[in-house]
């Protein structure tokens, strides 16, 4: 077993890339060490579905050859990563986290896998997920072929969903970065619960070719990393047009910090009610402090709230209707009963009965949501809210359990996850402190294709804090 210092597994992309370029460590040595750790600790967190050691070491040898001949291929060259098991890797199982698809193998690579391969990043394995990325909904964290995602900070807590393995694997130092997916909350939630930095890109910026579809009009793929800078470097590699994906926006992304806008020029908005009433009491101090740090960075913070629209209702109707259409063969064949979560099974069956007029009504509401954000972003550059009200829930806790705390009277921004997804907006989950010994995070949301603005704030916040540097013991 390769014997590298523990810090290596928690290094950022730039740090690892510098060590590889200076030949302080070889790529084969690094890859072997990561594969050992991935295989040894992955099952501890139910975080992995497949090790790709042999292919990874072959790729690592190529990287070492390139480096020996001074052929540098960018910041991701030689960096170990993992992907959510809804992305196809040619010739290997792609389970979608669900028993009915456990033996599924595609003959081609997803576009993001191809792009990362071209950037010479090293795919060391596939990561677990909530079955069918959550489907319409699910009741328990155990809704997965690999069991509940366990949080590296405390294994009695959930790592979040549906990109459960991606969150846990980055937090536990099994990979340097991971690719997750979000339909409504599946990058933001595990990133926040696991204390890592996750970026949900603008809808259409990253190709979904080769990824499982849950909702054609809402699905996005994005990076889950150690830092905002790492998210920028990975997004740069995976963004771009793709003729194989009809949703592709035909835009690329370049991570160039020197062209970031000055933070003091940005107009940011938040809702005090989110921080003072919606959040759990144990997390309020951390969120309050984080807001003060943002002020100290020079951000101008104004108060705002979302207009009163039925964000959750529209989102759940759209996801349910599209998921039922996508998985109709699974439902009709009866194999849906092999899923782990009874609520998801029932939800998929019932979703077949959603009427066209209801789906279209949800889509008409979505038009209003899009318009509402266009209006809101005339006066504001970035919206800031807690990503979730508190730290990770217990693994055994039903996820549909109602909160015992009264809902705040004011609306605030607490529905920013479904609202932002309906409008296809980019979001950054930024670790901002701890509560009950577990990470909590802010979410920052910007105009479409303004990922650079989010990353600028994230990078500056992380220069002043060390929350993203802390790691589970």
């Amino acid at each position: 077993m390769a014997n590298l210092p523990e810090e290596i597994f928690f290094s950022t992309i730039s740090e690892l890339n510098a060590k590889l370029r200076s030949r302080e460590i070889s790529c084969v040595e690094l890859t072997r060490a990561f594969c050992d750790r991935f295989e040894r600790l992955g099952p501890r967190y139910n975080a992995i579905t497949l090790s790709l050691r042999e292919a990874a070491i072959r790729q690592a040898k190529d990287v070492d050859w390139d480096l020996k001949h001074n052929r540098t291929r960018g910041p991701l060259q030689g960096i170990p990563f993992g992907v959510k098991d809804l992305l196809s890797v040619a010739g290997h199982p792609t389970t979608w986290g669900a028993k009915p698809y456990a033996g599924q193998v595609f003959p081609y690579n997803a576009t993001v896998i191809e792009k990362l391969r071209k950037a010479r990043a090293i795919l060391i394995g596939k990561l677990s997920m909530v079955e069918l990325a959550g489907g319409p909904y699910y009741r328990f964290a155990s809704a997965s072929l690999t069991g509940p995602g366990l949080n590296p900070w405390d294994r009695s807590r959930w790592s979040g969903g549906s990109s459960s393995g991606s969150g846990a694997a980055v937090a536990a130092g099994l990979v340097t970065f991971a690719i997750g997916s979000e339909t409504s909350g599946s990058i933001i939630t595990p990133s926040a619960y696991c204390g890592i930095t996750g970026l949900r890109p603008t809808y259409g910026l990253v190709s979904r070719y080769g990824a499982m579809a849950l909702s054609w009009t809402l699905d996005k793929l994005g990076p889950m990393c150690r830092s905002a800078e790492d998210c920028g470097l990975v997004l740069q590699a995976i963004a771009g047009s793709d003729v194989n994906d009809p949703s592709s926006a035909g835009k690329s992304f370049h991570y160039i910090p020197k062209f970031f806008r000055k933070l003091s020029d940005l107009r940011c908005a938040y809702a005090p009610v989110d921080f003072e009433e919606w959040t759990e009491p144990s997390a309020r101090e951390a969120f309050r402090d984080a807001l003060n740090i943002l002020r100290d960075l020079g951000l101008r913070l104004h108060e705002t709230s979302l207009p009163p629209l039925p964000y959750g209702l529209a989102t759940s109707t759209i996801i349910s209707a599209e998921a039922a259409a996508i998985f109709e063969p699974l439902i009709k064949s009866g194999k849906v009963n092999e899923l782990a979560d009874q609520k998801q099974i029932a939800g998929l069956k019932a979703a077949l009965e959603i009427k066209a007029k209801d789906y279209l009504k949800a889509m008409r509401i979505r038009s209003q949501v899009q318009q509402a954000f266009r209006t809101l972003f005339m006066d504001v550059d970035v919206l800031i809210a807690p990503a979730l009200p508190g730290p990770a829930t217990k693994v055994t806790e039903p996820l549909d359990r109602r909160s015992t705390r009264p809902a705040p009277k004011a609306r605030g921004l607490r529905e920013l996850v479904p609202a932002g997804n309906l409008a296809g907006l980019p979001a950054l989950s930024l670790p901002c402190g701890f509560a009950e010994g577990l990470p909590v995070a802010l979410q920052l949301v910007a105009r479409p294709f303004n990922e650079s603005t989010l990353l600028a704030i994230g990078a500056e916040f992380q220069r002043r804090t060390d929350f993203h540097r802390r790691r589970p013991s």
């Binding site: 501890r44 139910n46 069991g147 259409g204 039925p310 009963n337 939800g347 019932a350 509401i365 039903p398």
Partner: protein, 67 residues
């Protein structure tokens, strides 16, 4: 597809902790009962959507590519 012993081991061991960590008892009843509840939820959502008034001119979102 070739499944190596290592791959088989990883796949098998990944599921093992799940067996040891069962969730609290499912608060719902039988699968049929669960489906009945899910159908009720679909019906409630349909009612809520019906009650939500929109100007007749509001068209569905056709463009998902952000602008």
């Amino acid at each position: 597809m070739k499944v190596t012993r290592r791959k088989a081991l990883i796949l098998a061991s990944a599921g093992a902790p799940a067996l040891a960590q069962k969730p609290v008892s499912n608060p719902s009843g039988s699968p049929d009962e669960e489906v009945r509840r899910a159908r009720e939820q679909v019906a409630r959502a349909a009612e809520a959507l019906e009650e939500y008034e929109l100007p007749m001119s509001t068209e569905p979102a056709f463009v998902f590519k952000a602008t």
